[in-house]
């Protein structure tokens, strides 16, 4: 707008920026504090001296973690989970979304299958029945317990399906006339033009697998099988015990006990677990927003 701003308007614009700055700070300050605590001396932390900069800079908490095996054991479980779980999610999303995106005249059983999947978001069986099925299929203490029960994320599938439905009919007709089979149409025509949507659901799926902890807690009896977030949950809920366990088990770690505290080692582990999310953050920004808008605000 070319009209010159009035004085009240200027006051509003400035106070608006200040207010937004405070809001933004409230959103990231806790994480800066976490990072500062993880690099600080334990006495400074206990005295409440650490805000946004490390006090008595030290990497001892990180050293302690690298010497305890549990963090890395669970990290490996999480990495395995993501590398099996995400591709399976994607494959099932694509294979399910394509047939359901067809018109009723092209795929007569479409409605039946749509309802088959949608019913599962309407009614949740609940904790115990789900647990019993996972146990009966022999998945307790197996990585597959974290992958198979949620192998098809229904909402992501609906997002992809809606996108595929919005593709121009001419595109698919051309493929059909050229004699392409459904499989060829899907992989050579539909998928290449759906990359943004596929990227979105891939990120959904990654964040979901990385952040899940509850399934790990109930399906895994052996702590060795805990994914990272489940392991972290035990650290968060009972930080002192984590420290005791790790220093009791191997004598060589007891030397750290005077130098680290539950707060500093907890902060270090939480920060390490945030790193993958921070790494994909730029992509999340790019795709999540477009995907979300495609998926929910249809014209």
């Amino acid at each position: 707008m070319s009209i010159k701003d009035s004085i009240p308007r200027k006051i509003f614009l400035v106070s608006n920026i200040v207010f937004l700055l405070i809001v933004a700070l409230a959103c990231i300050a806790p994480f800066i504090n976490l990072l500062a605590v993880s690099f600080s001396d334990k006495t400074a932390v206990a005295a409440g001296e650490v805000t946004f900069f490390p006090v008595g800079f030290t990497t001892i908490s990180y050293e302690f973690i690298t010497n305890t095996s549990k963090f890395f054991v669970s990290l490996l479980v999480s990495i395995t989970r993501v590398s099996i779980g995400v591709p399976i999610n994607l494959l099932l999303i694509i294979l399910t979304a394509y047939p359901l995106s067809k018109l009723k005249t092209e795929f007569r059983a479409r409605s039946i299958f749509s309802w088959f999947f949608v019913v599962t978001i309407l009614f949740n069986a609940g904790l115990i029945p789900t647990y019993m099925v996972v146990r009966n299929t022999g998945l307790i203490d197996s990585i597959w317990a974290l992958v198979l029960p949620g192998a098809l994320p229904i909402f992501s599938m609906l997002v992809v399906m809606n996108y595929m439905r919005s593709l121009p009919k001419e595109l698919l007709e051309a493929a059909y006339i050229d004699g392409a089979s459904h499989v060829q149409t899907l992989f050579r025509v539909v998928l290449p033009v759906s990359t943004a949507t596929i990227a979105t659901v891939t990120l959904f799926s990654f964040v979901d697998h990385w952040n899940s902890w509850f399934d790990g807690m109930i399906y895994m009896n052996n702590i060795q099988n805990y994914p990272l977030q489940t392991y972290l949950q035990t650290v968060v809920v009972n930080p002192e015990e984590f420290l005791r366990n790790n220093t009791d088990l191997s004598g060589n770690l007891s030397k750290y006990l005077s130098m680290v505290s539950a707060r500093t080692t907890g902060a270090a582990q939480m920060f390490l677990a945030m790193i993958p999310i921070l790494c994909i953050y730029p992509f999340l920004q790019k795709y999540f927003t477009t995907g979300l808008v495609i998926g929910s605000v249809k014209e």
């Binding site: 009209i3 509003f12 614009l13 608006n16 937004l20 809001v23 409230a26 959103c27 990231i28 994480f31 976490l34 099932l92 294979l95 394509y98 047939p99 359901l100 005249t105 007569r108 059983a109 299958f113 749509s114 999947f117 599962t120 309407l122 009614f123 949740n124 069986a125 609940g126 904790l127 115990i128 029945p129 789900t130 019993m132 099925v133 996972v134 198979l148 949620g150 192998a151 098809l152 609906l158 459904h182 499989v183 964040v207 990385w210 952040n211 902890w213 509850f214 977030q229 972290l232 949950q233 968060v236 707060r263 902060a267 939480m270 999310i277 953050y281 927003t289 808008v293 929910s296 605000v297």
Partner: protein, 305 residues
């Protein structure tokens, strides 16, 4: 275009589509429908050793009678609805206000930076966020109470005072999600036709009138939609969040259906009672989900599927 195909050709043409659906159908049948069949546990005196579909003793509605005679069941339902409603209302108002304010910022880069910062918590798990919040909300050494004491305010027991706990849950949930939720409102704000604003300026409308008569009506459909869809979660108090931050001290106001189901089922091994509580929750939730989807379609023409 397929109308002239013969019946058999049509079947052949559709066959690959069935095959594509097969893996998902198998897995969903086992893990979703199998579990749904498992809700029969709620009507049995379930003994795990006899197997899920084994010879269990049927007890009719006895588990439900027990459930609803528990002294804490109604408070728990009340807590759930209060916390969920708080999250629903705050979770719409705060992002809308934030989007309106952010929309007034003209510099694109500044706008982008603010956005980037505020949605960080959305992508982190409640485990990490609880770990951080347990520290910064602590009454003695927490960052928040240190700040409050500098302003001359007495320390607040955010997680230990039953009167404050539900509000803490609502506010921390809004903190986690408002930035991301505002994305959708910003998208609809930018789609408002600029010609409307230009016309209103010529008619002599000031900023407030523009906001009231153009901006708000412009995003009302999406606000209604998000509110209505949120109704589906009326019995979801937020297990991940509350389970990792509550304690017996705040059970009176902070215990929700999901945490009750968990404690009954996993910690106390009362499988039938826990399943009954879960089934009650799912049954009521289903009504809310169907109603919310119906309203979303009726009011805004949005179809979830």
């Amino acid at each position: 275009m397929f109308v002239n195909l013969k019946r058999k050709d049509k079947m052949l043409r559709e066959l690959p589509l069935y095959l594509m659906l097969l893996p998902a159908v198998v897995l969903v049948s086992i893990y979703s429908y199998g579990s749904m069949a498992g809700v029969v546990i709620a009507f049995q005196k379930f003994v795990p050793a006899k197997g899920m579909f084994g010879q269990q003793q049927w007890v009719g509605l006895q588990n439900f009678t027990t459930l609803f005679s528990m002294p804490n069941i109604w408070p728990v339902i009340q807590n759930t609805v209060i916390i969920a409603l708080g999250k629903l209302i705050g979770g719409v108002i705060v992002p809308v206000v934030f989007a309106l304010l952010l929309n007034e910022v003209r510099n694109i880069l500044t706008k982008r930076i603010f956005q980037t910062l505020v949605y960080l918590p959305h992508f982190l798990s409640w485990i990490i966020l609880s770990g951080i919040l347990l520290n910064i909300l602590s009454p003695s050494e927490g960052l928040v109470n240190i700040l409050l004491s500098k302003l001359g305010i007495e320390p607040i027991f955010f997680l230990g005072n039953p009167d404050v706990f539900p509000a803490t849950m609502v506010m921390t949930d809004i903190w986690k999600n408002f930035g991301f939720a505002s994305v959708i409102y910003l998208a609809s704000l930018t789609s408002i036709d600029p010609a409307l604003y230009e016309a209103s300026v010529i008619d002599g409308a000031n900023r407030w009138r523009q906001t009231w008569h153009i901006t708000l009506p412009g995003i009302s459909a999406i606000v209604v939609l998000m509110t209505v869809l949120g109704l589906a979660n009326i019995l979801n108090g937020g297990f991940d969040q509350i389970y990792n931050m509550y304690s017996p001290v705040v059970y009176s106001t902070g215990d929700i259906l999901d945490t009750l189901v968990f404690r009954l089922g996993i910690e106390q091994a009362q499988y039938s009672l826990s399943t009954a509580a879960g089934l009650f929750k799912s049954g009521v939730s289903m009504i809310f989900i169907v109603v919310s989807y119906y309203l979303a379609d009726k009011l805004t023409g949005y179809r979830v599927f």
